[in-house]
């Protein structure tokens, strides 16, 4: 059932010309991206165009906003998709004036544009009109210049001053009620923020009146690093470092998929199966950590559940170490395949995986006894951190967060890649929309990943010895044609991990943009926690399962 293509009568399909007709005179030009048709529009018609595409053509998922600077202009690209069928894509290209780069904000149509446009402003320097809160997001407020713009001096050192944060509700507190609020910094050095996230919380008693995430503490210029690296070798080690909690192969696949489609590289079937198996092992490892840290947030100490989850994760990492040579930073994929065949002796390797998979149901049962069956945990998580599906869609939430809100969206099935469409597995959807649903989704996805891995090793075991082709023939230097553009996404551990690449005729990308699922998911935090208690905000944050390395990149 799960692998059926979405029924044609539920999802309308439009050709590029239909869409052009729909947009009518808003279109001032056409572009062709490898993944989708692109429509060039005037910078003051962004909202109108996106609204038409969303309401009349059903493009309800603003996947990513890419900003870049050309010699003669600035440009923002809105990558639109449909939650019902993500293979239908359209790019809305908005050029902006070189001297005075002003463009209309899409925030009124898609809430997710809020942060994406702030990032574009921060790094590239495009001004978005009507944006509710156009401030820097990744770099400190006092930063000078926009690092991805052309006239930026990369070598100039900057001194960044620390400032006190203002209480966002301070001004109006006397006029409205006589009760007072308290401004509280939660993070960056706090036990529950999963890294260096800074949550500016305004509390009213024990409740959250307002919460705002402050990012950028772990910003490592990953996009720029990739822009300075060669397609063929040097980019591949970096995706491991975005979502660094052992989701490495999933991330590598995101780059591999985009770059392979960009360069027309075929991947042998055998390598695809190995990739699928490795990626699902990574997903299991990532979900175990998510389970452990969520328990940590709700239970309070490094309790048994965290350690049990780490134990199971370690088992997966042992398998991955045998396969890839590392436990976290795998660097195992290559364009056109993988770097190594399965380790010898193969029987022993299969045996290890099978042993692990055989024990897994028992361990999962234990987690259900410990966590999901626990009445206090149910009391704490059911009905808290509620994220309704419409809100989740507007914020571009994907992955287990979206599936916990009843959105049936999984790129492995909806936009198939690798070997997923040949295998038998289910997309897990829970419609509770709360912290508990997200927890359940992750736990059941572990089971589904185990199913996929099991089918993969069955296939690999019987694969004829002389057809074990792990890599196709790829030139040592790749130089895609100038000005080809592609946006491709895969289902990472946290959701849709997309890569936009614009080639500029050299062996390095002209623009490399990462659409991080954590970035979009984290944006929903205020929706989930305003008006709730502090502990529920912590639980909601835990259930989002963010990795700051991927949020800040």
């Amino acid at each position: 059932m799960s692998l059926e293509e979405p029924l044609p009568d539920t999802v309308q399909e439009q050709s590029a010309d239909d869409l052009e007709a729909l947009l009518g005179d808003l279109v001032i030009g056409r572009e062709e991206h490898i993944n989708a048709p692109g429509f060039v529009i005037r910078p003051d018609t962004v909202q109108e165009s996106l609204r038409r595409l969303r309401d009349d053509a059903g493009f309800d998922h603003l996947s990513c906003v890419t900003a870049q600077e050309y010699e003669d202009r600035f440009e923002s690209i809105y990558h639109l998709k449909k939650f019902d069928d993500p293979t239908q894509e359209v790019s809305v290209v908005v050029p902006a004036d070189k001297e005075n780069p002003v463009s209309q904000s899409a925030d009124a149509v898609f809430r997710t544009a809020d942060w994406h446009e702030r990032e574009a402003y921060d790094l590239v320097g495009i001004q978005y009109e009507d944006h509710p809160d156009l401030r820097r997001i990744l770099l400190p407020d006092t930063w000078q210049g926009h690092p991805l713009s052309m006239d930026y001096d990369q070598d100039q050192p900057q001194i960044v001053a620390l400032r006190e944060h203002a209480n966002p509700l301070q001004e109006d507190h006397r006029s409205e009620t006589d009760s007072d609020t308290m401004f509280l910094n939660i993070g960056p050095h706090h036990p529950a923020t999963h890294g260096v996230l800074h949550v500016k919380a305004t509390l009213e008693g024990e409740q959250i009146a307002d919460v705002e995430s402050d990012l950028g503490y772990l910003h490592r210029c990953e996009e720029q690093l990739c822009q300075n690296s060669t397609y063929r070798h040097q980019i591949m080690p970096y995706p491991d470092r975005w979502d660094y909690i052992s989701a490495g192969l999933l991330n590598e696949w995101a780059y591999a998929r985009a770059a392979e489609d960009l360069n027309d590289i075929e991947v042998p079937e055998y390598a695809q199966i190995i990739r699928t198996m490795g990626a699902e092992l990574c997903r299991m490892a990532a979900h175990f950590l998510a389970l452990g840290t969520f328990a940590l947030d709700v239970y309070g100490d490094f309790t048994a559940i965290f350690m049990y989850a780490i134990r199971d994760r370690e088992e997966v990492q042992n398998i991955l170490e045998d396969l890839t040579g590392q436990r976290l930073m795998f660097n195992y994929f290559r364009l056109g395949g993988v770097v190594w065949d399965l380790p010898e002796p193969r029987d022993e390797f299969f045996e290890n995986i099978r042993d692990y998979l055989d024990e897994l149901p028992e361990h999962l049962e234990e987690y259900h006894d410990l966590v999901t069956g626990n009445e206090i945990l149910q009391l704490r998580t059911i009905g808290t951190g509620v994220l309704p599906p419409e809100v989740a869609k507007s914020y571009g939430a994907t992955g287990p967060v979206a599936r916990g809100s009843g959105i049936d969206y999984d790129l492995r099935r909806d936009d198939p890649y690798g070997y997923y469409d040949e295998l038998d597995w289910d997309v897990i959807v829970e419609d509770g929309c709360d912290n508990y649903s997200r927890l359940l989704v992750r736990m059941q996805e572990v089971e589904q990943s185990a199913r996929i891995v099991e089918q993969c090793i069955d296939l690999l075991e019987d694969w004829p010895e002389d057809e074990r082709n792990i890599q196709s023939n790829v030139p040592r230097t790749l130089r895609p044609d100038d000005d080809t553009e592609i946006y491709r996404a895969v289902e990472g551990a946290k959701g849709e991990l997309g890569i936009y690449i614009r080639a500029d005729g050299t062996d390095k990308p002209g623009r490399f943009k990462i659409r991080s699922p954590c970035f979009s998911n984290l944006q929903t935090l205020p929706e989930m926690s305003n008006g709730e208690y502090v502990p529920d905000m912590i639980a909601a944050l835990g259930s989002l399962d963010i990795v700051l390395g991927e949020v800040d990149r």
């Binding site: 944060h165 910094n185 050095h189 009213e204 008693g205 409740q207 009146a209 307002d210 929706e527 305003n530």
Partner: protein, 137 residues
Amino acid sequence: MSWIAIGALAVVGVGIPLGMMAASALLRPSVPEQGKSATYESGEIPTGTARSFKFNIQYYMVALLFVVFDIETVLVFPWAVIYSDAVEVVGITRALGPMLLFIGILLIGLVWAWRNGAVSWTKSPRATRRKTERGDA
């Protein structure tokens, strides 16, 4: 007489922490620095003082209820002590009846407080409003 012994333990009980403080004062270094002495607020520069904000009204409600019920328990203490003797002397009705009445009145008070929401944690109206505002947006 037992009060002397209890007093002695009080002296020792205060003396041990003081002794430990003294021992620590001899052992520990002191390297004052401005950054160290800032109050901890997750590594950010603390905003305002913690004492400027008003307490949640809920804490007063709980405290008031506590005073009421605590005084009541003081009254139940002597009754509990003599209860079994009293049953033998005056019978169960006279021993238990007044106390049932007393507890009954208190329970009515509790029910009243319950219905008025005094024993539930109050939700802040502004926080709740912000939630609905966001939801509508």
